[in-house]
Symmetry: C2
Subunit: 214 residues, 2 copies
């Protein structure tokens, strides 16, 4: 039961709230407030209350938010109360790094396959989970067979659009793009991961441009 018409920036903030809620739970807390979340995330408490109100009445006035209930609700809304099968296109450094990234597994994202066009890589297995590398030629078949819902683009920039088109052809549900290039896609949810954004935010702050926390 997810409400419609929630702007994209809100969804980004919900993922931040989820991360912060986990940190608070791990530190042994049971409840939090929009003020506390706001201080930790450098957001206004009013913004946080407004964002969370999209999903019903989470908090009781003056009582704060129950962290476990908030976590559950955010996970339902963010779609991480279920498991998602991921296929990574490109068994290079980024693909390998993602295959072994604990931060994905523990959130319910499971890398079940890698795809590469290099015959010397196809047939190998990656990491402790022994994830198989398949040929890019077999991608649509494997996406169906393994119920892969999310495709990750981890190929060089000049190949990224062709891979994206292929994933759309295979009827993937969503794409996460690590290639530093703008992709043109219809009808499929797309998230660009631009690593340089974090570096820019950092250097901005080193130069004295921020008053906020981390």
């Amino acid at each position: 039961m997810i409400p419609k018409k929630i702007p994209a920036p809100v969804s980004k903030r919900l993922a931040l709230y989820h991360r912060c809620v986990n940190t608070l739970l791990n530190s042994g807390k049971d409840t939090t407030s929009s003020k506390e979340l706001g201080e930790r995330l450098s957001l206004k408490a009013t913004q946080i209350r407004k964002d969370l109100s999209y999903f019903g009445d989470f908090g009781k006035r003056g009582m704060g938010y129950d962290l476990n209930y908030l976590k559950e609700s955010l996970e339902r809304v963010l779609g991480i109360n279920k498991h998602w099968n991921i296929g990574i296109v490109g068994a290079g450094n980024i693909g390998m790094a993602l295959s072994n990234y604990q931060g994905l597994t523990r959130e319910g994202y499971k890398v079940v396959a890698l795809f590469d066009r290099n015959p010397s890589k196809v047939g190998n297995f990656v990491g402790t989970q022994k994830i198989p590398i398949y040929s890019l030629d077999d991608i649509c078949e494997k996406i169906r067979e393994l119920s892969i819902e999310i495709g990750v683009i981890a190929v060089p920039a000049n190949h990224a659009q062709a891979v994206a088109d292929k994933l759309v052809e295979c009827e993937i549900k969503g794409i996460v793009n690590f290639a530093p290039v703008k992709l043109y896609l219809d009808s499929v949810a797309l998230e660009d991961v631009d690593i340089s954004t974090s570096f820019k935010a950092l250097t901005f702050r080193i130069q004295g441009g921020s008053c906020g926390g981390t």
Copy 2:
């Protein structure tokens, strides 16, 4: 001449504006408007005008923004009109991927060294730029010698805090943390890169929770 007291969320949006401005310039445009930027980034035009107004009078009413001037100004504010030297701790998959990531180089971020505690990796060179891998024991010396300003943490979660403490001891200016763990630091600018945030935003949208573009 960077104004003080700009909230952290604004700095994140400035990096988004910079990316979008580059895309528009590459598509052959000369000017843009807060409306156009807003549509592309799923933000309100008023928000964009407010953010940009922190840095003086960019746009003329009714005339829009000159893209080249906007790009220059954003680069000055974000600290990417200069080069930044980067040292990566951890010559594993993430470290290797970052060493070869075009999206950093072209924004003025230069990886000049990797550090690892594995003796079999020390002394090797990485990627087309032949970036040297040094011993973690020599990190403070190399940070001084090579004028490294930004340290990247690309080690497993359980080693991340120790590496962060070491970087602070070496008087690094800022840290970008790729380990999926919360770090506790005083006095040094820190940016966490949580890859799972992008996946959460994507699955939220796959489930029908967004109305925005990419």
